[in-house]
């Protein structure tokens, strides 16, 4: 039962980490894309530079979500208490 409890808690923790960890980057990515669209609408000739920078920025923001995913995976697969 103790083993089971730890696994249950681990799964719960992973789910909570991923779900809450996704909120921030999602909002951030939304804002970034909106700002990029606005900028492209203003300056269509700078679309190439803007979209390149946007991709890099999105990847950086996405990394935050990836961190939580890593934590979740650590909790699931490399749990020191299991």
């Amino acid at each position: 039962m103790t083993d089971n409890l730890i696994q249950i808690v681990s799964i719960l923790a992973a789910a909570i980490a991923v779900s809450f960890g996704a909120i921030g980057p999602a909002l951030a990515e939304g804002r970034a894309v909106a700002a990029a669209m606005d900028a492209i609408a203003r300056q269509p000739e700078a679309a190439g530079t803007l979209s390149r920078t946007l991709f890099v920025g999105l990847a950086m923001i996405e990394t935050m979500a990836i961190y939580t995913l890593v934590i979740a995976l650590l909790v699931l697969f490399a749990n020191p208490f299991v």
């Binding site: 991709f55 890099v56 990847a59 996405e62 990394t63 990836i66 995913l69 890593v70």
Partner: protein
């Protein structure tokens, strides 16, 4: 499901356990070396297609380094270029069936980050001297010394985990999808993985440039020499 965080040695070379990422990396090294040898065999002032691509690649790295560091790119070009090429090829090696990208394992990313970390210190000392480099930790005041040291370590860890997480998650998701629906369904995700891999390679190289640039400092740009030294 396999544990994505664990590695099982394929075989032992004496006392040394050889794991899959090492083998794949050897293969990548062989491929890249062969490519380098073949593509640079016939360089001329009137470039062919391959040479044009190579020159575009090199001059793009130069421009990036110059823009970031305000310095001549010659000493940093091989490091930045190698990191970018290796990470890119490693990330895209997932296209080959049965091959798992080496960057999907912490050890490879840690090795890359270690190289960047060592290069940061090495270039910093080479440019400023040991005293000068250590003095940068006390900027803007001595209170910041612990914070600066912590920053050095955390940013290296963030470098490791960023690459690892992105690639590993891609591999992991594709694995999960593959276990659910085998045919055609993983293809969009694999395409996304390719994009992520390219972007992450670019980010890794840019961050390495930024770290080295911070270490060597924003020195006044010397007179631009006509001939660029190619030896680092």
């Amino acid at each position: 499901m396999d544990n994505p965080l664990s590695l099982a040695p394929l075989f032992h070379l004496g006392p040394v356990p050889i794991t899959a990422p090492v083998v794949v990396t050897w293969g990548l090294i062989a491929v890249l070396s062969l490519f380098a040898l073949v593509s640079t065999r016939k360089l001329s002032l009137r470039p062919g297609k391959t040479q044009t691509v190579l020159e575009l690649f090199v001059s793009t790295i130069d421009a990036q380094v110059r823009e970031t560091m305000n310095r001549e790119p010659a000493p940093f070009r091989p490091l930045v270029g190698t990191i970018f090429l290796f990470v890119l090829v490693a990330n895209w090696s997932s296209l080959i069936p049965g091959v798992e990208p080496p960057t999907a394992h912490l050890e490879t990313d840690a090795a890359l980050a270690l190289v960047v970390f060592a290069a940061t210190i090495g270039f910093g000392i080479a440019t400023r001297g040991i005293k000068g480099y250590l003095a940068t930790f006390a900027e803007p005041s001595w209170v910041m010394i612990p914070l600066n040291i912590v920053e050095q370590i955390t940013r290296t860890f963030s470098l490791i985990v960023r690459l690892f997480g992105n690639i590993m998650s891609g591999v992991f998701v594709v694995g999960i999808i593959l276990s659910l629906a085998g045919l055609f369904v993983p293809i969009p995700l694999m395409a996304l993985d390719l994009l992520t891999g390219a972007v992450q390679a670019y980010i890794f190289a840019v961050l390495a440039t930024v770290f080295i640039g911070a270490a060597v400092g924003d020195a006044p740009r010397p007179e631009r020499p006509k001939k660029e030294d190619t030896v680092p």
